[in-house]
């Protein structure tokens, strides 16, 4: 939002360091491990309290996996995750359960993430059953409160999900995520399944709730224009790595990484006057497989500005301007060049594939 204070003074709510999530590839009857899908490969970022961090990228870049690992829906391969000061990378399930109310998730497809055999009241009330000891009347009150908060009619509490439209179903999902007064919500493509006119309704709702309840969002999306609207800072992912992280306006006005530049330039503009004269950067080829990423920079196979060094050395993710991070050899001064060999050597020995 335009009127929010600068994030400088704010506390870090989520700290992610060197996060890796590899899924094993197995073969043969013995299910022997023959390789890894490197869905998330060495990702680090912080999310400040009350802010929205947008996480954008194309399908298969690992953005959803990243969102899920942060909530420990998967056990990470390496790295650390701290939420609200507590390290949750290694905590056992019982302790984790106690921490769950503070961190919630809104899923992409409201059709698939709501149980069709449960009423709206039961869906929204389920987290309350699990994590609180409210009396029946208190619980019902809380359910009504939540339904009001997300703009659902109280009279529909006993209806089933199929009786609602897509936008309303997403509101049910949001109410469920809010039930336990969370601090941090991962919104995984919450508007991707909705129509344009409904998307705006849901995004406005998410913003209202954030202002009222001081929520912190990780907003995962492939819709760059919507992320520009909702996010305070934006991280761009490509093939398991964050290639650029910057405050929203800086990123959209002056993208630094060649991938961010190409991605932004590929988004069509709803204005024929601009669209007919605009020059696009057209990337050639497809995204390589995360099971076998190219050596050096992940983007070197498609990058229009590729240099020799990109095919050999993985560019470090570093701060190039205050608050702006990017992983690209173009923005490297000679003094840091010596450091770049180390992480690549480190990762290749560690993978041992």
């Amino acid at each position: 939002m335009l009127d929010r204070p600068a994030p400088a003074a704010r506390r870090k709510l989520v700290e992610v360091k060197g996060l890796k999530m590899y899924f094993p590839i197995t073969a043969g009857i013995l299910r022997r491990k023959v390789g890894d899908v490197k869905a998330v490969d060495d990702v680090s970022f912080d999310i400040y309290e009350g802010e929205t961090l947008g996480l954008v990228g194309e399908s298969g870049c690992g953005k959803s996996t990243c969102g899920r690992v942060i909530l420990r829906l998967y056990d990470p391969t390496a790295g650390s995750i701290r939420i609200d000061g507590t390290d949750i990378t290694e905590t056992d399930s019982e302790t984790l359960r106690k921490l769950r109310p503070a961190m919630q998730m809104v899923f992409q497809d409201p059709q698939a993430s709501l149980n069709p055999r449960m009423t709206v009241a039961a869906i929204i009330g389920e987290p309350l059953d699990e994590h609180s000891r409210l009396s029946k009347a208190e619980k019902l009150n809380r359910i009504y409160e939540l339904m009001d908060a997300v703009g659902l009619n109280r009279n529909f509490a006993n209806r089933y999900p199929h009786e609602f439209s897509g936008g309303q179903r997403q509101r049910i999902g949001i109410a469920r995520a809010l039930a336990l007064n969370p601090k941090f919500i991962v919104c995984d493509e919450p508007i991707a399944a909705l129509d344009v006119s409904i998307q705006a309704q849901v995004v406005n709702l998410l913003e209202d709730l954030q202002d009222r309840m001081n929520l912190t969002y990780l907003f995962i999306s492939h819709d760059l224009s919507m992320v520009r609207h909702i996010a305070d800072r934006v991280a761009v992912m490509y093939l398991g790595r964050i290639v650029e992280l910057a405050p929203r306006d800086a990123l959209y006005e002056r993208p630094m990484h060649p991938y961010t530049q190409a991605l932004l330039s590929a988004v069509p503009e709803p204005d024929p006057e601009i669209e007919t004269v605009r020059k696009r950067i057209i990337l050639t080829g497809d995204v390589p497989s995360p099971a076998n990423p190219p050596k050096g920079c992940n983007f070197c196979t498609r990058c229009p500005k590729v240099m020799d060094i990109c095919r050999a050395v993985k560019p470090p993710f570093r701060e190039v301007e205050p608050g702006r991070y990017t992983a690209c050899h173009l923005y490297e001064d000679t003094t840091t060049a010596g450091r770049t060999g180390a992480p690549e050597a480190f990762t290749s020995t560690q993978q041992g594939v």
């Binding site: 939002m1 194309e58 520009r228 069509p268 709803p270 204005d271 006057e273 669209e275």
Partner: protein
């Protein structure tokens, strides 16, 4: 876009109804439009607005029942596609009218090679022999920019990436040199960088081949970049039709205006709050007797509930189905 040329496709008063357990749903209500040679006609609307069903009904691709194409005429090369034999329809479908569907994974058959699927229409419609068909198939793959075409003919769909699969779909649609190409959300399932590749390809192919294209989408940005003329659909009806610059520069229907305002941009100015069209799109249980948009419209009048507005001209090539008609001053203020 040659104005005044005889249209290649002329649709009049098309009506399609679905019979469901909950009663009838009127999905397409008296839709009329034409397609001129060589033009790209954009069809915009939200899901359920009837844009796909319109195109599926006019070439007989809807399962009947539950669908029932109740009326209208679709003139293509002198025959009425709604009133001709199945054999005639078959000779048109896939040959002189080609299609591209949204999801390239589900519209290609996973158990046949891409080459086989490309050669099928060539052998059926064009009567080519096996060898000639293969040569032509290779040319088509090269035309749509698939590298190493000869070898790729023997690959199966799963061996192609999403963008490459959509290129294969385009190659199949183009196989018999269609006069008309109907593309139903062809880039919706693709990532933006791949979408940009496909859009460039289509622009390029249009210049080379000169067919007329109907491009169905909900993405106004895509339409702005490629269409010559645009139809906006809502509730199974055409609510506005205009040349592309006119539509974006001077939208006249309240729905089009609202739709253009809800879409945020990656460039240009950023608003603190998104504009919203409140409410839901309607489900038409009966033939519409009133304006379908009135419940969500900021300019609804008593008349909107009493009769269904008919399309009327508001400028050259520009018509809307709406009673609301303020002076120019209010257009700017709204």
């Amino acid at each position: 876009m040659p104005d005044g040329a005889a249209p290649v496709l002329d649709v009049k008063d098309l009506k399609t109804v679905f019979r469901t357990r909950g009663g009838e749903v009127h999905a397409v209500n008296s839709v009329s439009f034409d397609l001129r040679p060589g033009e790209l006609l954009g069809v915009v609307g939200e899901s359920g607005s009837g844009k796909s069903v319109t195109m599926m009904s006019l070439i007989g691709l809807l399962p009947t029942p539950p669908a029932d194409v109740r009326g209208g005429t679709v003139m293509f090369e002198g025959i009425d596609l709604l009133n001709c034999s199945e054999a005639e329809l078959r000779s048109v479908r896939g040959a002189r009218i080609g299609f591209i569907f949204q999801d390239p994974m589900t519209s290609l058959n996973p158990v046949f090679t891409v080459g086989f699927q490309l050669m099928e229409p060539l052998r059926k419609h064009m009567g080519l022999g096996k060898r000639d068909a293969r040569v032509r198939a290779r040319e088509l793959l090269e035309l749509v920019g698939i590298p190493d075409a000869e070898r790729r003919l023997d690959d199966y769909p799963h061996q192609f990436s999403g963008g490459m699969r959509q290129r294969v779909m385009i190659a199949i649609a183009l196989a018999c040199d269609p006069k008309v190409l109907i593309a139903d959300e062809p880039t919706t399932a693709l990532d933006v960088t791949i979408q940009a590749q496909i859009l460039e390809l289509v622009k390029d192919l249009r210049q080379k081949l000169g067919m007329a294209i109907v491009w169905i989408t909900h993405d106004l940005g895509v339409i702005a970049g490629i269409a010559d003329r645009v139809i906006v659909m809502y509730g199974g009806q055409i609510v506005e039709q205009a040349p592309v610059r006119e539509l974006f520069g001077n939208p006249r229907h309240p729905y089009t205006r609202a739709l253009l305002r809800t879409v945020p941009s990656v460039r240009g100015s950023r608003t603190a709050k998104l504009n919203v069209i409140e409410g839901q799109p309607p489900i038409q249980k009966a033939e519409p007797a009133a304006c379908a948009f009135r419940g969500r419209c900021a300019h609804a009048m008593p008349r909107c509930a009493q009769e269904n507005p008919q399309r009327r001209m508001v400028g050259p090539g520009h018509d809307i189905a709406c009673f609301w008609d303020p002076g120019m001053q209010e257009w700017q203020d709204d």
